[in-house]
């Protein structure tokens, strides 16, 4: 048997398990959910073709500001806030952690550590930290004479945007902001990437800036930041894709039903409940496909605009 033939057979055999997984666990479900999105299907009987009525239902929901529309709004709020904050905190914290300072390794480890805390434990912990009555965060706020916020387990006033920007008690933040805080706390993996990128910036660029008398702030603005734009772009794209898919933390802090008053009902959660509580697979599949198209378009738009601001 020739080497070439041997290589072909080996290649097909060795990728075999993954190809089987691709066909059964990815491509078949991908096609099936597209088919189901045009059907009525409750898991018990057979899928029954209903044409575009699931999509029409989504359009109606969106035009009347129904549950799906609110879930879209919640998801967009969570995604935009957590991605923006992750860039802001990621870049600035990594810059701070790049200084020569005693105990740097320890500080880097401490900032990274929350990233390895299991989501279930993190959710339990943050529900306690952000408890409106007894939580540490609100205690700290009131000690500083700032208004306590509603956070998790709050009343329906936490249902942004009904009470936005502030209600009578000076409450600005609600449950969604609690979720954003949680996600920013677990930013460790990004920090590692930013730290590596900052370490890769050529020293000569800083030295040239110093000769020109640049202040540390100007060095950051004109040297560090432009050199970080490829990583920031990566952060934004992956952050968007991941925050739209966030499920476990949302499910846990919302008691599995978007509490309080639907404030944490994201598309992920609404879709999950529609599929497995209401057994409305057709409608859930239509939602999934709409979400997929929205995310794909957002990603495409990010790539298109990236030429303008990402350093090559």
């Amino acid at each position: 048997m020739s080497l070439k033939r041997q290589e072909l057979i080996a290649g097909l055999t060795m990728t075999g398990p993954w190809v089987l997984g691709l066909l059964t666990l990815t491509l078949y479900p991908f096609a099936a959910s597209l088919w189901w999105s045009f059907c009525e299907y409750d898991l018990l009987g057979q899928p029954r073709w209903v044409g575009g009525s699931n999509y029409a239902r989504l359009a109606r929901d969106i035009s009347t500001g129904g549950q799906f529309w609110q879930a879209l709004g919640n998801t967009a709020y969570y995604a935009v806030a957590s991605v923006l904050l992750s860039v802001l905190v990621g870049v600035s914290l990594a810059t701070l952690l790049s200084q020569t300072i005693r105990g740097r390794t320890l500080m880097r480890t401490l900032c990274f550590l929350p990233a390895v805390v299991p989501t279930v434990a993190a959710a339990v912990l943050w529900m306690w930290l952000l408890d409106p009555q007894a939580g540490l965060v609100n205690k700290a706020l009131t000690t500083l004479e700032l208004p306590a916020q509603n956070w998790f387990r709050g009343t329906s006033a936490a249902a942004w945007p009904t009470s936005w920007p502030t209600d009578a008690g000076g409450r600005v933040f609600g449950s969604k902001d609690g979720l954003v805080l949680m996600s920013v706390w677990g930013i460790g993996n990004l920090l590692v990437i930013y730290l590596a990128a900052i370490g890769d910036v050529p020293r000569a660029l800083y030295e040239a800036a110093e000769i020109d008398g640049a202040s540390p702030w100007r060095k950051f603005l004109h040297v560090t930041l432009p050199m970080l734009t490829p990583v920031i772009f990566f952060n934004v794209v992956m952050g968007l894709i991941q925050s739209v898919q966030a499920f476990t933390d949302v499910y846990l802090v919302s008691d599995g039903q978007g509490d309080p008053a639907g404030a944490t009902m994201t598309v992920s959660l609404y879709l999950f409940l529609t599929a497995f509580k209401d057994l409305d697979m057709g409608y859930a599949s239509a939602m999934a496909w709409l979400l997929f198209v929205i995310v794909a378009m957002a990603t495409w738009w990010l790539f298109r605009t990236s030429r303008k601001w990402v350093h090559q």
Binding site: L3, Q6, W18, Q99, C111, A115, V116, E210, S215, L252
Partner: protein
Amino acid sequence: MKSNAMNDNHETSSNIAGKVLVVLATALFAIPLVWMVLTSLKTPEQIANAPYSWWPSPLRWENYREAVSAMPFLRYLVNTLVLCLGSVAGTLFSCTLAAYAFARLRFPGRNLLFAVLIATMLLPWQVTMAPRFLLIRELGLYDSLGALIAPTFLGNAFYIFLLRQFFLTIPQDMIEAARMDGASELGILWRIALPLARPALATVALLQFVAAWNNYGGPLLYLNDPQHFPLAYGLERFVSSHSTQTHLLMAAAVLFTLPIVAAFFLAQRLFLRGIATTGLKG
């Protein structure tokens, strides 16, 4: 590096500001974890009563014993370990084979398959969730850990990508030489590639172990009988039934987090390599 005296002064003042800021930021990241541990050692009275105090007094270690005995902890732990070890075995088996083929073999369709592999990483789980659930139920795996373990034997795009990057660094000469000596591809993988790839394999094993340890969505979807619950899921059941007993909740959360934090300290390099190769997946 510092060129003149003026520059030095200038730098000193902003250096101090930077140092103060970094210490403050680190404290903000660390306080939640410290608070979790401190709360786990307090009495319920100390938690409930004013004034708010930091240090647990008296230290109440019984919280841990109570948290453990309030749920079938041992059963959950055994299930978790079965889930973790089973899925690590599945991942190493399927991902090593595919990664080696993508990195070191030339066969028609390889590049197309690899492009598909990358594309699947971007596909949201929502799109495949429902039919995948039905398929696994049809296979009779519903309500067993098999529902969570079996798919790992069919590969994972992130890990295949990570291992492929590593296999690419093995000198082609070594592989060609073995081929000329008549070694089979499996033989080359087993005797040459795998021993060299040990650090990458350890990284993948560790990441998958942690992922299985943390997995909550899987059990939520596929498990029904508490007999089969792993810790992540069982813990949440415990949380909803003891939601007012903060001291026990924190003790349980600490117990659940500790092994992962310990693993991180024992194998920092492996964690960091995983992040460096596959980005946010960690």
